[in-house]
Symmetry: C2
Subunit: 223 residues, 2 copies
């Protein structure tokens, strides 16, 4: 799909270094929109729409924010900037622990990849059991990028059991029962991401999905 790609002004402090753009189709009518594919979810399931934006565009950090733990959430593409640029935004990488720096840096992703991840997650969400029905224009938009909808076909990337849209609402200790997962935890793009049950994502940990499967095979063989 060819996007409009006109610049959208955001209130982000990083506005000068990274431009946000319109992802309506080229030559669209009406106002520009960064996430037009989320218009419907924003209205019927705003927490899910917000989760998709957050997981697509933000690094995940510690639940708290400190020099020790690093910033808790930061735009993934900002993590592509060199230390000197980041210091202009009051983010002094030299003050962070090496482990925190490498965790943040490995979550860096360019803006286009983040948007593509957001479209993929939206596409997957609409194919869960009990998902709201996507309006035709959004279905068409998402199908052009990621392929035909197959109702109820979204499975947990890890355990391969069907996922239920209603589980976005379930929460244990403040954590959503559905999480965004990465087949390879160090790559943030549409091919590599999907949804997973929280317990599956926790079990996978820092391993790639292939490493996880090999690991549990070994456990069962030795049991």
């Amino acid at each position: 799909m060819l996007f409009c790609n006109r610049q959208i002004n955001s209130r982000s402090r990083y506005n000068e270094v990274v431009i946000r753009r319109c992802h309506l189709p080229e030559g669209h009518d009406g106002a520009c929109n960064e996430y037009p594919f989320l218009r419907h979810l924003k209205s019927v399931a705003p927490n899910v729409a917000q989760k998709i934006i957050r997981d697509s565009t933000m690094t995940t950090g510690a639940a708290w924010k400190s020099d020790d733990a690093g910033p808790n959430r930061i735009l993934r593409w900002v993590m592509k900037l060199p230390d000197e640029e980041l210091s202009k935004f009051e983010l002094n990488m030299a003050n962070l622990k090496p482990g925190v720096i490498s965790k943040l840096r490995e979550k860096a992703a360019d803006y286009d990849s983040c948007i593509e991840v957001a479209t993929k997650l939206t596409w997957l969400a609409y194919q869960m059991n009990n998902s709201p029905i996507s309006p035709d224009d959004i279905t068409e938009y998402l199908e052009e990028i990621h392929g035909k909808f197959i109702i109820s076909s979204t499975v947990c990337e890890i355990c391969k059991l069907p996922m239920n849209f209603a589980d976005f609402r379930l929460a244990k200790r403040g954590k959503a029962e559905i999480e965004t997962c990465h087949k390879n935890p160090r790559i943030h793009n549409a091919e590599n991401i999907g949804f997973a049950h929280r317990e599956c994502n926790i079990a996978q940990g820092a391993k790639t999905l292939d490493e996880f499967y090999a690991w549990i095979e070994g456990i069962l063989a030795r049991r």
Copy 2:
């Protein structure tokens, strides 16, 4: 083994309701001692000795302490007391969330079980690769309770790979690489506990070990 069982005065605020006792053999010489089997580890690996005492006797709670999250560490046998008794110790169970209450209550264990867990963990630690060598009197003491030492025989309860005593020192984000685990998370006794790698323990989560194995079998079958 018949223990001395004389009362030991502790500084614990729960002293009046639960008595701590001496676990030297009946008729021993010298001063009484609640954890005589940890004498050697306290000297050569004090962090391991402290971990064994903590994991054997304390509930694990949130890393923080609040009315919302509950007390972060409390003696397991204190959790056997009724709400009225607990309120005398400034612990108002009625103020805690139901989920926190049930988590705390399911970690309750009687004092003798906790001591037996401590002897089992000590027995297992001495049978890890690279463990310090146990003095004869402690070997004899532990073997009488849990059976003959087999050097380097201690495996992770979950993945069944050999455990290395040196891994007690490794830590990721402040967490020890070796954790105490429960085959059934709701039962705290010598038969049900052991050591596990942190990543294995996290993967098992709230499941019993049998449930965990069945779960990963299912994942591999569907993959």
